[in-house]
Symmetry: D2
Subunit: 365 residues, 4 copies
């Protein structure tokens, strides 16, 4: 690809469920191109097309299928990497990449709660990117994380409500899709004709990450938001799309109509900057009485928008609603991609002047 001026990027942990999504979404990305893929030792040296057990609905692009699988270690000849690594290895590997001068956009949980690492949802807390200044990696390296898949779908509509009415309590029960468990993930014998009322560590992530993301950045770092979250997480036999049944307590009363208006009109920095992966409307309000549903609405705006329905009063807190988002697009690979677009567009990736930057700067004027 002689004339391809897109920025070469690496995908770390490229054979898993989220890694495959990174590959799929990057394939036609206007700013980035996949230049390197890594995986565990078992796959090293194979063609990516042979190493991966591809489960996406569209075929694997042939030029990426031909890439050799590299070990997950610095030296990839890229300045930007997307991490879909397992938490068992992500912690140290991502630090090593950052130390070697790579800007890592990670979907792994390991560094999310580090005080100097942004836990970023570009529509919600774009200013948290400034935490990168506190990181001391040499040569332009750094780590930016995106939240857990079930947290992302929740905080986008919460952001809109929090600004308008002040959110103080959140009760959430999730019905989460299989792709969130990775590959091979949930055995079919465990989930067919069944649901499982437990996902290891998931409830804690929802309860703590929400507070950091909606927190305020001050001189010391991020001060958690004063929101009490109670989360109960279940796994359901759905391929993609996390549904969340949510009750919300507010500081200032709001009718369902007012809440809907605030969510529907919510726009963030990615929308203003027209970043390539940004949905036109971060939150879609649905009027169907039995909406949103995973299969019908997970792909809204390419899987980057959140769908909200059934907004109504709650006898215990203030409002109830059903929230749906695509867990491996908006909730993982697509979310991390949008983080990278924001970081690049705002100049947080040193020395980067590929087609992306120009395009963005042009747009920003």
């Amino acid at each position: 690809m002689g004339g391809d001026r897109r920025i070469p990027v690496g995908v770390l942990g490229a054979t898993g469920s989220v890694g495959q999504r990174f590959v799929q979404l990057l394939h036609r990305h206007p700013w980035f191109r996949v230049a390197a893929v890594t995986a565990s030792e078992r796959s090293e040296g194979k063609r990516y097309g042979d190493a991966v057990r591809w489960v996406q609905n569209e075929p694997l692009a042939s030029e990426i299928a031909e890439l050799p699988v590299l070990p997950t270690a610095p030296g990839l000849d890229v300045k930007v990497a997307f991490s879909a690594l397992d938490s068992g290895v992500a912690g140290s590997a991502e630090t090593e990449f950052a130390e070697s001068g790579v800007m890592v956009f990670s979907n792994a949980k390991n560094h999310r709660m580090d005080p100097d690492v942004p836990l970023l949802v570009p529509e919600v807390n774009p200013d948290h990117l400034a935490l990168l200044e506190k990181q001391s990696f040499p040569k332009g390296g750094g780590i930016v994380t995106n939240p857990n898949c079930s947290t992302i779908g929740l905080v986008i509509p919460l952001r809109a409500l929090h600004e308008a009415f002040g959110v103080n309590r959140v009760h959430v029960v999730t019905l989460q899709a299989l792709s969130g468990a990775g590959l091979p993930g949930v055995a079919s014998m465990e989930i067919m004709d069944n649901v499982v009322p437990f996902i290891d560590g998931e409830e804690e992530k929802l309860e703590t990450e929400t507070r950091k993301i909606l927190g305020l950045l001050n001189g010391q770092g991020v001060e958690d938001a004063e929101i009490v979250v109670s989360a109960q997480c279940t796994r359901v036999p759905v391929l993609d799309g996390h549904l969340e049944m949510v009750s919300i307590g507010l500081d200032r009363p709001a009718t369902p109509e007012e809440a809907m208006e605030v969510m529907a009109s919510f726009r963030g920095v990615p929308q203003e900057m027209e970043l390539p992966s940004a949905p036109k409307r971060p939150v879609h309000l649905l009027s169907g009485k039995d909406h949103p549903q995973p299969r019908l609405h997970r792909d809204t705006e390419g899987g980057m928008a959140v769908s909200v329905g059934r907004v109504r009063p709650c006898p215990l807190l203030d409002l109830r609603m059903a929230i749906l988002s695509h867990n491996t697009i908006r909730g993982a690979a697509g979310g991390a991609l949008l983080c990278a677009e924001l970081a690049l567009a705002q100049g947080w990736v040193p020395g980067m002047s590929g087609p992306g930057r120009e395009q963005t700067l042009t747009r920003r004027r």
Copy 2:
């Protein structure tokens, strides 16, 4: 069956999902035998075996398959009937049967909230049967209802907690099985790779029935319990078994261990009287970190026991837990059967002196 001294009963609406369960559970019942089955006009006159689209996991008993399908109207030559009628016809049909002298045990919603109709869960509010005295049907007729399938699973453990600690608030999100929607019920194209966050009328039933069932019977009737319930109901691709993710507010604080002890040791009148369909233990406490699960636990004690797991503190209310019950057995046909057993054993079915009564009286001594 010349020597069969069991009490002949009718099953109203016998071809649907719950009707099939009545037929299945009654087939080997020690007190009752199916003597008549009714269905809609389309099926009238056919053999039951031809009229029904049998979807249970075990074959239909041949002697019941041979019964002719009768119209749903008085004149069945039975004194006891079980109603699995659609709500479109149940209201007037059940009244007509009661007026003709039949004691109707109904799974339909129509009469549940009538002030003089018991909404009965035999372990929870057996004393509510005394409402039958307020009914003015001639010749021993009457109507006893059991609650909605999602309510039954909830109120049994709630009863134990309410007695011990006082329950004042309940937040429940349900993941309900397909069989609860009847037949043909949910189209496969709607629910495969999907969940639906809405079940018509279900949330209202959970919120109101719970209060009546846990209410106090006094001279005027039942006074609703002072419990605020917030319910959100979803349909999931599971054949049988409703899972409920529940948060509970208490009047008096309790640790998860205390709550578990109270639920595990809970016993009711059906256990004391050793009624044929009564589970030995109404609530089973499970220790598996990802239990209860519909496919693994719905058949506990023949589908008549409720399974509870993941009892833990709630950051918003006091306790959280996952509750599972079999929706067409404990939550419908089996629940109504237990109501009939209780009514018979306590002498509420006039003139009835079949093997059931004797057996029960013997046991009671």
Copy 3:
């Protein structure tokens, strides 16, 4: 849509599973636009968006949602109609439309075996369109049918093999998707954790339609091909995509490699004419040892291409293979659309000179 020069068409039976696919595929069609939708009496007068229970993965286009649902009777002010009618009404309704001067492209079974009605798969038997000359409808009316969904996927690769080696025997076992049964179609309680080894009338269609489609058109009509077909049809819990396990007997021996080459290089008239809905390659040969699979390959070339894998010798006949096609796109709505494109491009729709014709003629030079 003042400037829309596309040909207005009607969709008959627009609320069902195939009707929805017609609406979806026609929405962005370069030659046609949906100008009228019809349905059963129950839906008449409603907005289409209110009448339909939309189950496609992408939202219903708003301009079509606003169309009023009309009765299924002549007088629609269109010259071309696509029929997704139930076989209970399709027979007479399609005849009436044809008599009123409408060219009907039908997915219903009723007229398929009529001697003067083309049973058309544009890649396979485009010359059969000449049967329209035998039809005696006035004012340019006519009826063109496409085959049953399971037949279409089979005959396309068969055509390539038949030309090259002569096919004399076909043994086929199908694993068919739920969308083939329409809406509400198969109840979820019947198909979850289950397969059903019977589809009413399906085996007969495969056995007879294949012979007509591959037959020779002569002065009298179509002479059936001398191929013995044995079909066994099953329903499986898959949303879209029919898989067929096929054994084939040949007149002249062929190695798997020769057969693969012949199928992979097969092109038909739609490819030569570059019709808008024509796949670039009618048959895709897959090398994955466990391919094709419905979820991975049904959408190949927008659902219009057939995927073939596992080509290998058969101990009983000559060759075995697995064939997959999208049953509501290539096997129904998309197939009928391609028939209409062919008919229009070849001048079989009298008086029609919309953008379609010009575009096509241009392309043909």
Copy 4:
């Protein structure tokens, strides 16, 4: 269990899908009791209840849950063992057990085609047990195998037809359940909304095992039956129960009615001897036009009987039919158990005089 006179047996590979079935079926077995369980190194030393990821529909028996998991090596203090070992270790491990004097009844594929090892289906080829005489293990050791799960369901009805009419050709397409792939087995992301037209090695097993099982035992060993089998195997999203769509060529013509009569009246040695796990009728003929179905019929006679339906002529061979059997009961654990019962009852287990033998001998008179 002081008074338990049942024969102590070991279960090798007890944590997998088939191993769990052995444990479940042995729990209430009248002749055998589980005295030892083995698994891979990872599980050694744990309680069985902790080591196993139990996926059966009924709870694990508590006395078996308490057994320690032992290494899979001789020295178990049992004379009889059931092997559910993976083929990666079964070959040598089973030989070692046999050499140590244990009679091994194996579900693994490794020794099935050994010339001196019986490939046994007790109703079909009970005389093949005599191959044990050719085995040279000391101290009463030996190896008896049962066939692949998809083969067992096929050969039982085939046996009846072969005796009566002579079978010469079999064309079979299988729709196989998930439990046949073991645990974790098929990933849910691979099989939901999907079917997979390939199971590694399965087609070869069906094609070769069938010929050995239906072969004749003579002085030299088993002479394969002269039957040409063409098998195509698919995996479908069903928990238990293999469905097979079969076409059969016969030496002597038979009507469907004659074939049904022959299969329905078929009885074998296990039925004559009334072995504890033997179904009363090995083959159940079903009249429902869309029967057999996995969920409805897999549990017929405790999962030990085969269900057959849709018997009708085949345009290519002679007869077609649909055959269903429970793959982990009749097709694996239950089948091996029946082999052991036959071997014990016929005196092939030296020195064995537990309750089983006496009971059997009594019955046999």
